[in-house]
Amino acid sequence: MIDRARQAAKRLSAALADGLLEVFEDGRGVVARIEATALHKALDVLRDDRKTPFEMLAHETAIDWSAWPADAGSQRPAERFSLIYNLYSVSTRTRIFLEIALAEGQAAPSATGHYASANWAEREIYDMFGIKFTRHPDLRRILMWEGFEGHPLRKDFPRHGINPQDFPQE
């Protein structure tokens, strides 16, 4: 399975050229770090790949690196956020990961055109991290209610919310 992922990454590398920054392997498997502008092309290539078609976007999530300690082992990325795409090929049982680095306030390209499952995942990322997606059909909060202030999974979010007095008090 991981050989298939490696080969798919090679084909991806050939198709993207400069858009692909690096391919590496860690505990997750094969990870391809790409430019945000190359996302749609990368999804095109991987989804419509002949040998290993990644039909499913199993998961899409984000990481806020702002509280990452300097001595934590791996190096902290230059940009604040990472977007992670977990693609799965159901027919060949192969998994591959895509990573995009995003600066604070930078909008990400939406994957909803390629995968319907990106819709709610991106709403959750918008809700929890405040990352906006361009051309998302329905970018609203999904877990917290309308009017909730702040984005809870950002590391600088206070544990009891920005306005705890807005919640029911004793």
């Binding site: 917290m144 544990r159 009891h160 004793e170």
Partner: protein, 205 residues
């Protein structure tokens, strides 16, 4: 059942016909009607479960055969609030769920009582965060708090027995609005503070 915290296995306290007959015989005495109403209410509690988390699993244990609450006249667990008078809030209530809890409580007919089951419903439990309601008594009045994470079914049965005793003392006159006022303004025990608030914030001067 010897290893349980509170041995409720041998207690059967659903009202007997003899009790009813005695109450009816004394009906001409002053206050007898209220006593009769109390007796009827305490032995025919209709619980509605508000199960949102793992406490609801213990609640299922409570209504099923081992610790069977039908022994206390409360076997009809109904899922319509309009048919119930005892709400058992079992589980974590998040802030987004809070309006739903309030609405269901408001839909229940008078008179009505609430048992808060487990740490989450009591005070938010271990979820001391932006998303979780820090105790359901912030939005609805609570009659009995059952500690535990989750509490054993016997503990909730004990709370129900205590609640039945309280209903037996209410003399039929207090509507839940009156009890609510008592809860918010005077405190359950008449000292101006709810027991929980005294534990959390100390004695108010």
């Amino acid at each position: 059942m010897k290893d349980t915290l509170i041995d409720t296995s041998s207690q059967v306290v659903a009202g007997s016909l003899e009790e009813a007959a005695a109450l009816v015989r004394d009906m001409k005495k002053p206050g007898a009607l209220e006593k009769f109403v109390d007796w009827a209410r305490m032995h025919s509690l209709w619980p509605i479960p508000f199960g949102t988390a793992c406490c609801a699993i213990e609640f299922m244990g409570m209504v099923s055969s081992q610790t069977d609450i039908s022994r206390f006249g409360a076997e009809f667990v109904r899922f319509s609030p309009r048919q119930c008078d005892l709400m058992i809030v079992a589980g974590t209530v998040v802030n987004k769920m809070a309006p739903v809890l309030k609405k269901i409580y408001d839909q229940m007919a008078e008179p009505k009582w609430v048992i808060s089951m487990g740490s989450c419903a009591n005070c938010g439990g271990m979820f001391n965060t932006y998303s979780v309601l820090q105790g359901i008594d912030r939005i609805i009045p609570v009659d009995y708090y059952v500690p535990g994470c989750p509490p054993r079914p016997e503990a909730v049965v004990y709370a129900m027995l205590e609640l039945q005793k309280q209903i037996g003392r209410e003399s039929g006159v207090l509507s839940s609005q009156e009890r609510q006022r008592e809860f918010w303004v005077r405190g359950i025990d008449g000292h101006g503070q709810t027991p929980k608030s005294r534990i959390l914030h100390g004695e108010r001067k």
